[in-house]
């Protein structure tokens, strides 16, 4: 009887092993763990949904909008204060600006510019920062100290002012703003990646790669960089809103993109100067900007909590 029970249990266990129906036994990778933790964070998930909706609106909205962002609606031009106010009937859902241009279309167009600057700028920063930091940290020695000194010097430069000086001298170009933003934002990322690399480079798998005759550039590319990507992701998700803010700041001061193109900062500046009559010019672009910034910040926080090994 006893034997019987034993063999039953054994059989059952063997069956389970075959079919693999025991979730407790399954190993979870870092990324699976992180994903689970991220999706448990309500603020982060809500932000992700909102941001996706926002992105879709900005990208697809111009096809839905009854007006283009640069066309003047002559019908409302004589009385912006009443005819140009937001209404579903006139097709100007967010109202028009002083020149009779549709605020909804302009907000979407401004969003395209703002998000493009934010995301592309962050990509540039990630690319430069990761490579710079990984090379500096992996090579060490004199190369490292020279590379770090360069960062120290650049770090103490008041970049906001340097960027505005660049814009003053060379005129306003969206490309110039990209370059300026890219040049500013990779510094702290390079520092973070360098620190991570230094702790990675004495690990066994790097030794193994070295012993196996892998060349230094390949070690950095294949073994170092993939292992720092998690932290880089967290950082860049917080970098995007910072860059959007930076571009908006420049545009608010009138030093960013040029007419008829626009960005959220420029729209807010325009709205602010007319806010006592046509408040909608200020409120809608400001709301879009603030909501986007909130979403990115919550997602960044969520990612950080999800990937932070201290929490596990």
């Amino acid at each position: 009887m006893k034997m019987m029970k034993h063999s039953d249990a054994l059989e059952q266990f063997a069956e389970q092993l075959e079919t693999g129906t025991e979730p407790e036994m399954e190993g979870r990778s870092l990324w699976q763990d992180a994903r689970r933790r991220f999706f448990r964070n309500k603020a982060a998930v809500l932000s992700l949904i909102t941001l996706t909706a926002m992105l879709l609106t900005i990208l697809l909205g111009p096809w839905i909008a009854p007006f283009s962002y640069e066309d003047i609606d002559w019908d409302v031009l004589m009385d912006i204060e009443t005819l140009g106010s937001p209404s579903l009937a006139s097709g100007h859902w967010f109202g028009t600006d002083q020149l009779g241009r549709d605020i909804f279309a302009r907000t979407l167009q401004g969003g395209q510019i703002s998000l493009m600057v934010g995301i592309l700028g962050a990509l540039v920063a990630v690319l430069i920062g990761t490579i710079y930091g990984a090379v500096s940290g992996y090579l060490g020695g004199r190369t490292d100290s020279v590379m770090m000194r360069v960062i120290e010097i650049l770090d103490s430069v008041p970049f906001m002012f340097m960027v505005i000086m660049l814009v003053t001298v060379f005129g306003r170009h969206i490309i110039l703003i990209f370059i300026a933003i890219g040049a500013v934002s990779w510094l702290s990322l390079a520092r973070i990646v360098r620190g991570l690399t230094m702790s990675l480079k004495h690990k066994e798998f790097i030794e193994a790669a070295k012993a196996g005759g892998v060349k230094t550039p390949a070690i950095i590319r294949r073994h170092i960089v993939p292992n720092v990507l998690g932290i880089v992701m967290v950082y860049s998700s917080l970098l995007v809103p910072a860059l959007i803010l930076f571009e908006s700041f420049l545009s608010f001061l009138g030093l960013g993109v040029q007419e008829p193109q626009t960005s959220w900062g420029a729209l807010i500046a325009e709205g602010a100067s007319n806010m006592d009559v046509t408040y909608w010019q200020l409120v809608y672009p400001a709301a879009f900007l603030v909501i986007t910034l909130f979403c990115f910040n919550f997602i960044g926080d969520g990612l950080r909590d999800a990937l932070d090994p201290k929490d596990r």
């Binding site: 120290e152 010097i153 103490s156 430069v157 008041p158 906001m160 002012f161 340097m162 505005i164 000086m165 660049l166 814009v167 003053t168 001298v169 060379f170 809103p241 803010l245 908006s248 700041f249 608010f252 001061l253 009138g254 030093l255 900062g265 807010i268 500046a269 709205g271 602010a272 806010m275 006592d276 408040y279 200020l282 400001a286 900007l289 603030v290 910034l293 909130f294 910040n297």
Partner: protein
Amino acid sequence: MLSFMTKRLLVAVPTLLVIALVSFLLMHLAPGSPFGGEKDLPPEVLANIEAKFHLDKPVMEQFVIYIGNLLQGDFGPSFVYHDFTVTELIVQAWPVSLELGLWAFLLAVLLGGLIGTLAALKQNSRLDYILMSLAMSGVVIPNFVLAPLLMLVFAVQLGWLPAGGWNDGQWQNMILPVVALALSFVASIARIMRGSMIEVLHSPYIRTAKAKGLPQSYIVLRHALRPALMPLVAYLGPAFVGIVTGSMVIDVFFTTGGLGQHFVNGALNRDYGMVMGITMLIATLTILFNAVVDILYALIDPRIRHS
């Protein structure tokens, strides 16, 4: 300690030189001459002007002259306001920015510290959540959104405060700019303060103080506050720079006549002299402030000094 301080300050010198060189070269790369205005000047007059501004000399020599002038506090001529030198304009605008910045700084540190401490003491309570979501909003909402909204409510709708201008620093004129400038810093400081205060409150010596039966206010003020302020010191350097750059928006929006307004106007009018002068001033201040913060930090924390 002395060697740490000198080392730290010596690093600042080449940095400043690099910034000066870069901005100087940028100005020379700039397309067009600052004097190629509406009408063509006779060649003799142009030559005279160029001689006056040393534009006829080789670039390196011009740079040496420029640095020499800078060291004497001479930022050169403004290319737009011909009757003023950049130094004169800076001397005019600096007190405004300083007064605005100092009030904002004071407000930010006091209010931010208070909010952060309160939230830390009531950690995970409803009060904590409310304060921290307010702080999150303060961090996220940029001052160029906040300033118009404040003005819309308090100046346009309610009419309690003037909508702009400086009026020789009347307090009514200062309230809105100071608040608009300070709020995001209040929020950041509150968040930093809460974090560090919670960490300090969980440390063993605070538990000992509690076990001794000391009243909470005494524990917070005498034992917890000072170590909790440490991370704030590191934040003060960047915060200073932030207040100065943030004041660009505030100065322009509230037309206070501060440095930020001159800087932005200079940039819009391509007044190279003005833009470069203010950049050099801010760069010097930034670098000096960062050095001071590092030294302060080393003074407080011996581990940094000896590493």
